[in-house]
Amino acid sequence: MTISRQDVAKVGLLARLALSEAELDTMTTELSNIVGFVSLLAELDTSHVEPLAHPLDTHNVFRDDIPLPSLTTAEALQSAPRHDGECFLVPAVLNESGAA
């Protein structure tokens, strides 16, 4: 599988990365190398191997539905670039939320 310059541009856009023309070239080469390296795995015969959904063998790790103390609002907001003491402030968002 090869990675095209277009693929990189699209992934860059989705990740909100402003890539310059030169960076696009570098990324295309480097990403292709990485994917090429990983694709070595495709040479293995995995037809008799159970699909693996998670590398850890443990499962069913739960906690009880018991409330724990939250942060104070001041603590929650302290690292925000901008806030009004109650809410985080961000540049105007006028359209609807992207997903539910």
Partner: protein
């Protein structure tokens, strides 16, 4: 228009419903899910997406989700995992939502909706999947203030949500609304969610398009539109009615078919009563789903499933049938009672048990108890008249102590004063009229009304009604039915 059998198309509707689960804490952290708290007071490093924090699954959230899926007749996956759905939005602090992609915990269910009045044929709606995911926070933009800032409250971020996706099996806006009512009733009965749309604990998106038969026998399908921003089931119905007409008109103008353009999202504008186009939806691959490495798999075995199933209360569909067979009431009556919620059904069953009669109990519930509840507000648990107290009153009516209209007065007094039927009867001076009193009264009535007597003897039995009013004036406690019966008996005895 599509409800008409002559509509030149079939309306195809599928729904996507999100319900907040009734847990005390969030899906992956111990923050409270209580609605209405001041902004950013129910947040911690995990739900704020701060570096180094890790999610741990809420046991109760998974249990409630399982309950919902089982009640929707879904198949439960023996193993399930969670995935990251990546997108950027200010109310999504981690930059991804923990959701389920290719291994949802349940799939392939169904839920039937039946209209007892027969407005549409029973419709069994397929459920594609039910999965468990986290909610996002809330963005607030005060356009009027024009400050240009959007304020973000993350109290809701991380609240457990069940996403329920149906097959496109609904065929009219009316069906869609009725089905949503049935779904809500089911989830409330099971204690899965309070389904309060005002507080956002139930949200609906609808997918709709039209299948239009062509002269050559081919079926033309209009592009699928997803409608958002509907704040009540009534809005869902209105938006779908509007969209049906809009799509048919667009079809007539453009002949555009499904696949000719990407799936469109339109927002419902309630005051204007129209849908408006929104930005194009990102392709699902653009969310770049990948397995959530911070959560391990969850497995469910048969024993766990059996335990959840045995702990579940009767769902509404089964409860309706049970009431019909247990108490010999109609499908319409059982529907009215069950739709009022589990507590009211409990009251009804206690009442019916106490008087040993379902139909009479059901009538009292619908005509008197429900009407009083509607007028006074409040819930059945706080109703001032207990089932035993009401049963006592009904028994007195059955015994002929007084008639139904007198009983209603007594009932009203029991509601306002909280006193027993016997108490009210004593204070209002209501006492049973014995047979001797009744006989004397009827003799007096007949003697005073020769014209009525003559009319009745001439075959006009309905003329006896004229005697009832007079009887009530002489003695407010008399039972009109008994007066009528006795007078007719005496007149017949005259030969």
């Amino acid at each position: 228009m599509n409800a008409s059998p002559t509509a030149p198309f079939t309306t195809i509707i599928g729904l996507e419903v999100h319900v907040q689960l009734q847990t005390r804490t969030k899906l992956f952290c111990g923050c409270s899910t209580q609605f209405g708290a001041p902004p950013n007071t129910q947040v911690c490093p995990t739900c704020l997406g701060l570096p180094g924090s890790l999610p741990v699954m809420n046991r109760q959230a998974f249990a409630l989700a399982l309950r919902a899926a089982l009640a929707l007749n879904c198949t439960i996956a023996p193993t399930t995992k969670w995935d990251r759905k990546n997108y950027f939005y200010p109310d999504l602090p981690k930059g991804y939502q923990i959701s389920q992609f290719d291994l949802p915990f349940s799939s392939a269910g169904h839920l039937e909706v039946v209209d007892p009045k027969g407005a549409f044929a029973p419709r069994d709606v397929g459920i594609i999947r039910v999965h468990l995911e986290e909610d996002a926070g809330k963005s607030m933009h005060d356009e009027a203030a024009g400050t240009g800032d959007t304020r973000i409250d993350l109290n809701r971020a991380g609240t457990p949500l069940c996403e329920i996706v149906t097959q496109p099996d609904l065929r009219s806006p009316q069906e869609a609304r009725a089905w949503l009512n049935e779904l809500k009733l089911l989830l409330v009965y099971l204690g899965v969610s309070d389904c309060n749309m005002q507080e956002g604990s139930l949200r609906v998106d609808a997918n709709i398009n039209l299948h239009i038969p062509q002269p050559d026998g081919r079926i033309a399908k209009t592009p699928i539109v997803e409608i958002k921003n509907m704040n009540s089931f009534r809005s869902v119905e209105r938006a779908l009615v509007y969209e049906t007409a809009r799509q048919y008109q667009e079809w007539q103008e453009t002949k555009a078919e499904m696949g000719s353009k990407p799936k469109q999202t339109r927002g419902w504008d309630e005051p204007a009563g129209i849908t408006r186009g929104q930005r194009a939806k990102e392709e699902s691959s653009d969310y770049r789903y990948f397995p959530e490495p911070d959560l391990v798999l969850v497995t469910v075995d048969a024993a766990q499933l059996a335990a959840v199933q045995s702990g579940m209360t009767e769902p509404p569909t089964e409860l309706r049938k049970a009431l019909e067979s247990r108490w010999k009431i109609s499908a319409y009556d059982s529907d009215v009672l069950v739709n009022q919620g589990r507590e009211l059904v409990g009251y009804f069953e206690e009442l019916a048990g106490a008087i040993g009669e379902g139909k009479v109990a059901s009538n009292w519930m619908q005509q008197d108890v429900l009407r009083t509840l509607n007028e006074r507000g409040g819930t059945i648990d706080a109703f001032p008249v207990t089932p035993a107290g009401l049963a006592d009153l009904i028994r007195r009516v059955t015994a002929g102590d007084f008639d139904t209209s007198r009983a209603r007065e007594i009932f009203a007094e029991m509601v306002t004063s909280g006193r027993s039927a016997a108490d009210v009867v004593a204070t209002l001076g209501i006492s049973a009229v014995d047979d001797d009193e009744l006989l004397t009264l009827c003799h007096e009535l007949l003697a005073a009304n020769p014209k009525i007597v003559a009319d009745v003897r001439g075959g006009k039995e309905q003329a006896a009604a004229g005697l009832i009013g007079q009887a009530k004036k002489k003695n407010a406690n008399v039972n009109p039915g008994k007066v009528r019966e006795k007078c007719l008996e005496l007149i017949r005895a005259m030969g």
